[in-house]
């Protein structure tokens, strides 16, 4: 059977695409970057999905099936050794290239992990780097670790070569543990790689001063690690607490979800397709509840992590973790009983090596159910009868590691119709060396010699809604105080709900002081009870926007952070809030700000809703050595979409595995 049009490109399909590309460039050296599904055009998919939803469950319609396409990203290495970046689209069935684009030199392809290897090898070979390192006296048993990073936004407009930088640390090898935390020993030096030359071309030297010191002064001693201290987190190097008893989560009758047709997930009236790609990670498609359409596509689109330390070269410390390297590429291989509890279904992805050969990327998504406390409850105080249901959730989760840092991304489905996007930030905060006894206004000293720099995490999710159909209108609703008025508000308790439809593509902000709620409505369908258009709503988290000054490189590259909410008209291929190319970008090109400039009508149209939220992270000592999760939620909730609480039919059965605490853990008299 042919794969579903939304299904992640398989190993065999990837291999076909690779061969088509190789045969399209018979005389060239091809360095592959990515091969993944080029999703079908929406116009074609709408026809296909209409047929699919009208057909017998499990029977995909053979007619109207859009062509199965692979997006191929690769460098063609010319005789001058300077790679030229190409993007092609291959039709898998016909084995033909159907689109070919040579990307201009003003853009940089996303990095690949094997480019990082080039940096490590170049450091080893670089005399310049070895000489610079020799200026430091390491304590006995310490060894250098180089951590490759994207170069960040160029501060010189004049040149646009492809660079990478290496953050340097030292690892204490005396404990013989390969996972001893080297981030606790930062070195004030950064080698710069010219990726085309494969050479270290410059050494950046970092200031290590504190308050009152200059931005560029070299104040450190040669024994730059002597005031650092260990910051271990692997269990064998930590004195663990011993009084934690296990919580076992079991599902003796199995899970309530069903996965069929490889990508189709059905659970508690929800039905959606799941795919995985190297840039966005897990993506939801064609999300329905009880046979009614809610989203055509939901994804994490982009994030940026700018640092607030003004000392050069930290103005370049700004990651775009989706555009620069790909969240999917950085996905963890998840593990049973650690990353999730209960009955777990894992999904694999596919990655390629630089020769284009595909292999499986196992367990990149996990799917499981969880109990999240009470779902709804009411007690009739006359009869004493309490009806209480649990809040069961289905979680689609993936986790990425970006050098020191991790993000746990999840889509959470609830029986009550809520669809929540969750981000948990954890991992090791990015640190630099600071001289003994100093403190800094650019960050917080979290360990001896270790300054955790102030930074922000700004995420953007992309929701392509289909609220009972593709033509939707966003209306934002506010609640406003009204003056006392003898006719309309005699006692001053009235407040007014004001509704404003968004007519043209726009960037808008959260306004919690007005209880501003964004409703994605279908203006063509009314709720039979309330008479309002059916809708899903969300309240954008009113988190701080980008702090970098307007006109700065950090700001120019991340214009998508200018507003909490963007409404754009759907246009094929517009998936990325900061544009297709973020690596080493100078300006956001083709991002939401450009999309909005079209000033499209977005009333009763096929629209896309973008939400930007985040965290200004001024580190605490408690964020060291691995920070406890910080959690963020964006909750899409039905608003007059259904004709009652969709979870009212959830059984209120008592769970018989719960028990009273045994006496011996508590004093004999258990009364307060």
């Amino acid at each position: 059977m042919a794969p579903h049009p939304f299904q992640t490109l398989g190993v065999e399909e990837t291999r076909i695409a690779r061969e088509v590309i190789l045969s399209s460039h018979p005389d060239a050296v091809v360095d592959f970057r990515e091969i993944y599904l080029q999703e079908p055009e929406k116009a074609l998919m709408k026809q296909y999905l209409d047929l699919e939803h009208a057909s017998t469950p499990g029977q995909s319609p053979a007619s109207k099936r859009p062509p199965r396409l692979a997006k191929c990203q690769y460098d063609i290495i010319g005789s001058d050794k300077i790679p030229e970046y190409h993007e092609s689209v291959v039709d898998i069935e016909s084995k033909k290239r159907v689109k070919h684009e040579v990307i201009g030199k003003e853009f940089h392809a996303s990095l690949t992990l094997w480019e990082f290897q080039i940096l490590l090898e170049a450091c080893k070979k670089s005399e310049m780097f070895q000489k610079a390192m020799a200026e430091f006296k390491f304590p006995d048993g310490f060894e250098l670790v180089v951590e490759p990073w994207p170069y960040g936004g160029l501060d010189l407009q004049s040149e646009n070569r492809r660079y990478f930088q290496g953050l340097c640390f030292a690892q204490d090898t005396r404990n013989g543990n390969a996972d001893s935390n080297f981030y606790a020993y930062p070195l004030p030096i950064i080698p710069i790689l010219d990726a085309h030359k494969k050479e270290i071309v410059r050494i950046d030297r970092l200031a290590t001063g504190g308050k009152g010191d200059s931005l560029t002064g070299q104040t450190h001693s040669e024994k730059v690690l002597d005031h650092c201290q260990s910051g271990e987190y692997v269990p064998e190097l930590v004195d663990l607490r011993k009084d934690l008893k296990p919580i076992d989560i079991t599902q003796p009758e199995g899970p309530s979800f069903k996965v069929t047709d490889e990508s189709l997930v059905e659970w508690q009236k929800w039905r959606f397709r799941l795919s995985f790609n190297p840039r966005e990670g897990a993506v939801l498609h064609d999300v329905h509840y009880d046979g009614r359409s809610i989203m055509y596509r939901l994804s994490f689109s982009e994030m940026t992590v700018p640092y607030g330390d003004p000392r050069p070269p930290f103005h370049r410390k700004q990651a775009f973790d989706f555009g620069d390297g790909g969240a999917g590429n950085c996905a963890n291989n998840l593990s049973l009983g650690c990353d999730c509890l209960g009955v777990i279904k894992y999904f694999d992805g596919v990655v390629i090596d630089s020769d284009g050969q595909p292999r499986e990327h196992p367990n990149v998504i996990c799917l499981h159910e969880q109990d999240n406390g009470i779902g709804w409850k009411h007690t009739n105080w006359r009869t004493g009868r309490a009806v209480v249901t649990r809040n069961r959730e289905l979680v689609v989760q993936f986790i990425i590691t970006l050098a020191n840092y991790e993000y746990v991304f999840a889509y959470i489905f609830r029986q009550n119709g809520d669809l929540t996007v969750e981000v948990r930030a954890t991992g090791i905060v990015s640190v630099v060396n600071i001289d003994p006894g100093k403190t800094s206004e650019y960050g917080n000293v979290v360990s001896g010699g270790v300054l955790a720099q102030n930074h922000q995490h700004l995420f953007c999710i992309r929701a392509d809604p289909a609220i009972d159909g593709h033509n939707n209108t966003v209306v934002y609703e506010e609640s406003h105080s009204m003056p006392i008025d003898k006719d309309t508000n005699p006692q001053g308790n009235f407040y007014q709900i004001r509704k404003t439809p968004v007519t043209h593509s726009a960037g808008l902000d959260a306004a919690p002081q007005h209880n501003r709620v964004f409703k994605i409505t279908n203006p063509n369908k009314k709720n039979p009870l309330s008479g309002n258009p059916v809708a899903y709503k969300f309240m954008p988290p009113p988190t701080q926007k980008l702090l970098a000054a307007r006109g700065s490189i950090q700001s120019n590259r991340a214009l998508f952070t200018d507003h909490h909410v963007w409404i754009t008209k759907y246009q094929e291929g517009e998936l990325y809030a900061a544009g297709r190319f973020t690596l080493q970008s100078q300006n956001e090109k083709g991002g939401v700000t450009d999309m909005v400039k079209r000033n499209d009508s977005v009333e009763d149209e096929d629209i896309v809703v973008w939400n930007v939220f985040g965290l200004t992270h001024n580190p605490r000592v408690e964020d060291w050595p691995v920070m406890p999760i910080d959690i963020f939620h964006v909750n899409f909730r039905p608003a007059d979409f259904f004709d009652r609480n969709p979870a009212i039919d959830v059984p209120s059965n008592k769970n018989n595995s719960s028990v009273l605490v045994e006496k011996d853990c508590c004093s004999s008299d258990q009364k307060l």
Copy 2:
């Protein structure tokens, strides 16, 4: 052994207090309202706790024990039958009344549930009410239900009698189910009780119109229920979903917590005392982590629920659920396997009847552990080694039912030092009748004939911090963009953290656009790593404040809603954000706004921090018939309080009860 000074007053102690009161008023009729623990003066408790913490675990110090006191609230019924409200304090050991206060007529005692019975009986006896009811033609098999409510803020300054109002509904008895949802059939009539006369003295008639109709017009027909429809939620009246499989949560080795000395809870380095009282419900005392003090007391102080419908008498529809009737009084008797899963420890409270006789109020608090996903994670991408810990939580929970509505209140402790206050709002939204086919700007039509009125829920929690001691200072910190400057900010990426200590008692607001964080610091103790004062921080949820117009009765009664954060100097007995007496209040008296007016120094002083947050609830159709939970969190987090992530020592053991999904639930090929 004598009970711990914070321990909830026991049945026997309550009985002694009752007898002392009765013998203090030998010739009077005494109607009791409440008897509960009068907590010891802080000055005495500080001495006691110092000794306790210095003594052998489990050995409470006998010396310095403050006297055990009972607060007694009661009416003395005079010969004119008009009750006079008294509050006395009784020393349990000496069996003496040590304080006695007669409360002025300008204040009303909190209501008791037996006052509600008076309303119901008065309705039965009232000819006026019977006559008014005869104007309606019920469908066959429908019967009247009267729901007692507090009267709300008086709109006439001239009189201050004690009133209650009855919201009227009809119940469909044809299904023979006593829990059939009568709220689906609202009647546009409200009988008013004079509580002293025990008579219905007035009938309020409700407008049932919609947009464009007058505020007072009587537009309904006599068949006022004919366009209503059933809204059942009890499982036997609902067509339940059948595909939900159980999730079992077990703790084969028992829980990780320990409860000793009746009120002392110890869990994962946390240690605190737990008590329960009729007004605030569950209260935390003397909260420590790893032997260090964090809070002296933490409680839910007050909440108000004002309605935004300007039609009389809905301007009086405004509950103060803690001050009016007592959250503790309305606490549910919690049930194993429904309200919580896992190994549960319940605590009982004590309530009295109107004759002062005490009895146990079973299972009013539950204590349990839960797993909340990943706690922290890091993968070393060089070695591939992932260390991942779970986010274990300890939950202290109580649930209250207020007529139609419920709140789930919880204190959540985490191994990482976080202490979170959680509120879940659920239950049945308050509704009134609306004429067929009409809609309203005062609410949303959620079922035939049923208008769910727009309203707000505004909560106030009271934190009496003791960050490594009682003398603390609140500093609020903001992050600000800085202009590009060649010396200090050459590339524009620097942002400045601004710290402002709160020097005098004040009301302050959330400012998420500046990432405003409130740090409760101990200015006398510095973190050895960062050099900053040790602190716990919180970011107040930037939720909408009260919408009722300034100067309105709703606003005058709830001035505590004017700011998100209040800082006051500790003063004995100041527990209630809206003041001691809220029932039928005209103005907030003795609430936080009055406390702040003292303009006390709050720098390096014993301070109290109040946080107001809430929800503007413009109902959705999906909130009917029982609304899915809305969740609110206030998270107190350590900020340079510890010298590392306190959860870094949590074991990262794999849970062996987790399993892979079985093939038969999924298609044979499990790859995406």
